[in-house]
């Protein structure tokens, strides 16, 4: 099996590296050795993916270093998205201040996937600042986090002047409303959906919001 194949190659690497402390996970140790080496892009890309499954907190620093890499940044995020330890979320959050462009969009997306509440202030700022170029991604991440604080930022954008920003906020709000309803905060979910209905011209999106609102009302009876 693949896992056992991982294991054999990992043990060889560990032996070669003269590792004296017991490894937390042999696959992770082998992958970290690859990242620290002069290996090529392909090998490093694969190492990042392996760390996404088998890596722990010891892998975070090596992956975080790659978040501004032209090619490996996406692979590094695949590693960090998978590591459940809070240090992975912290590394992504710190990268918000150092990476730009497409890589910044990726970091914002990963924070949403991980539902990193600690990153709320940064995500809120990015959502409200279209000049950084990732406001749509930041809104989507706020939607996935789906807290009351995230909701407030989406509401603020829904009240704003930019039609395209309002549409992005509306899509995010639909997700956030589901999250709020799941956490039994029905009043907040209703407020958010009403905001969508008022902010967007009648059509597909408002119909979706209205249907969601109706189902919340039906569910609360």
């Amino acid at each position: 099996m693949i896992a056992s194949r991982f294991l054999v190659s990992s043990l060889v690497v560990i032996a070669l590296a003269g590792c004296t402390t017991p490894p937390r996970n042999p696959v992770s140790t082998a992958a970290l050795a690859v990242l620290a080496s002069e290996a090529g892009l392909h090998e490093k890309a694969r190492a990042c993916q392996e760390l996404g499954v088998f890596g722990g907190p010891e892998s975070v620093a090596a992956l975080a270093k790659l978040l501004d890499h032209e090619v490996l940044a996406d692979y590094a995020r695949s590693g960090l998205e998978g590591i459940t330890d809070p240090s992975a979320g912290k590394a992504l959050r710190q990268a918000l201040g150092t990476v730009e462009g497409r890589n910044l969009a990726g970091v914002v997306n990963s924070l949403g996937v991980r539902r990193e509440r600690a990153a709320l202030p940064e995500l809120q700022a990015l959502a409200l600042d279209p000049k950084r170029g990732v406001s749509a991604e930041a809104m989507a991440s706020l939607g996935m986090i789906g807290s009351v604080e995230a909701m407030k930022t989406l509401q603020q954008i829904l009240k704003g002047d930019s039609a395209s920003q309002r549409v992005s906020a509306a899509h995010a709000a639909l997700v956030a409303a589901e999250r709020l309803a799941q956490s039994r905060n029905l009043a907040a979910a209703r407020d958010l959906l009403n905001e969508v209905i008022h902010a967007i011209p009648a059509g597909h999106l408002t119909a979706v919001a209205q249907r969601q609102l109706d189902s919340l009302k039906a569910g609360s009876k």
């Binding site: 996404g52 995020r77 890589n103």
Partner: protein, 424 residues
């Protein structure tokens, strides 16, 4: 040009005063369908398999295909010519940019037949744009994508049909009904054929990119991580590569056969609770004790299937069994099971009835046979089985939370990061 209300009324008066000549075809006479009853269709990523689907759509009198988006110019042109020949006009538009299709308010529905790595994301972007979707299978790369796809379809209230057309092919449908109706007795085991499990992490040696006007490599990759361009990938030989082919190839046939087993076992709303690989065979068990066995396909004679052909399935109860495959044939444990009429033989690859059902549902807003919810669970079963195979040990699965029980490694295999800037 901007019309004033006065100009509009003046023009209307002139029109009302003239004799009205409306072509019969526009009214839906002469065997044609009136424009108001037509479903306007666009296509996203249509290669050889997509063209089989498209042929089925073009046969339908109430479909008007108007635009193809494909990142390969050659494929755009092949589809454009195919469509224009069918309609005997030059009206089909082509574009590299799928958002051109999604941005057209006249398009009601889209046919998505990209590579697998795009299926879920393209579906989600389409339903966000208010389109109904017919999407080729497998529809997801991971368990998380299976969930995201179904959640988005339900959130936006769109009609979705996975291209798992065997739900609408007679011999498969007949076999599933035998199982579901109790005529086989109590179902205890269902068998799904799968392809050999494989997962390559290799990169082909890079070639110069042909240029975005011929092949937009960046867009072809989409949410998958970057690797150097090679023509093999874009010419359909992307299967087997981890980054483009989810679930170690298990969902490739599993999208059909596991889905049919779920249906036959009346398990569309659940999943097995346990998976264990034994070589290339994976044994799964539902909470009610029914077994699901995923084993090699029968088209080369492997697996001792009674009915030869691709995508065989077998359903066993305590009073009998049935087997069906793509040859259109069916085998049963007793001739009495065919009393009342055996199904007609039809090939399992013909999507015509499946396409027709989708179109009917677009009009009625009903859920088709391969809707997003059954697709979610069927695909999750295939992905969960492949994760068990990758880990090489028994894994427990919770059908309610759709996650592995006390198994962090397995749970971390349920999703993959998307390449920036793609997100749902």
């Amino acid at each position: 040009m901007k019309f004033t209300r006065r100009q509009f009324l003046k023009g209307t008066a002139v029109v009302l005063g003239m004799p009205t000549i409306i072509p019969a075809s526009a009214l839906g006479m002469n065997g044609t369908v009136a424009p108001s009853n037509r479903i306007v269709l666009g296509g996203i990523g249509i290669g050889p398999r997509g063209r089989e689907d498209l042929s089925a759509f073009l046969k339908q009198p109430d479909v008007q295909f108007v635009m193809i988006a494909d990142v390969q110019s050659v494929r755009q042109e092949v589809v454009r010519v195919m469509v224009n020949r069918r309609y005997n006009n030059q009206d089909c538009a082509k574009t590299r940019e799928m958002f051109d299709v999604l941005g057209r308010p006249d398009i009601d529905a889209v046919l998505i037949a990209t590579g697998d790595h795009w299926h879920a994301l393209a579906t989600i972007l389409s339903v966000k744009a208010g389109k109904d979707v017919y999407c080729e299978k497998p529809c997801s790369m991971t368990i998380r994508e299976s969930q995201e796809l179904a959640d988005a379809v339900n959130r936006y209230g769109r009609v979705f049909q996975a291209g798992t057309q065997r739900r609408n092919v007679d011999n498969f449908r007949f076999a599933a009904e035998l199982a579901r109706s109790g005529r086989l007795g109590k179902i205890h085991t269902v068998h799904a054929s799968i392809l050999p499990l494989e997962e390559s992490h290799e990169w082909l040696t890079g070639e110069p990119e042909p240029g975005v006007d011929k092949v937009d490599w960046d867009r072809w990759l989409g949410p998958s991580p970057w690797r150097p361009y090679h023509r093999d990938y874009v010419q359909g030989r992307w299967r087997g590569y981890y980054d483009f082919h989810g679930g170690a190839a298990l969902p490739e046939w599993g999208a059909h056969t596991v889905d049919l087993c779920q249906w036959a076992a009346s398990a569309d709303n659940t999943t097995p609770v346990e998976f264990e690989a034994e070589g290339q065979t994976i044994h799964a068990r539902y909470a009610n004790g029914v077994k699901l066995v995923m084993r090699l396909a029968g088209f080369k004679g492997e697996g001792n299937w009674v009915v030869p052909g691709t995508c065989p399935v077998r359903f066993e109860g305590d009073e009998g069994w049935v087997e069906a495959a793509d040859t259109g044939k069916i085998a049963v444990s007793s001739p009495r099971l065919l009393e009342g009429g055996a199904p007609k033989e039809s090939a399992g690859t013909d999507p015509t009835e499946h396409v027709r059902e989708f179109l009917d549902c677009v009009k009625s807003r009903a859920k088709p046979a391969a809707n997003a919810d059954v697709t979610r669970r069927g695909h999750i079963v295939s992905h969960a089985a492949s994760i068990g195979w990758r880990l090489g040990r028994k894994v427990q699965f919770d059908p309610v939370t759709e996650s592995f029980v006390n198994d962090a490694d397995a749970n971390r295999m349920c999703s993959r990061a998307r390449r920036a800037p793609w997100h749902v």
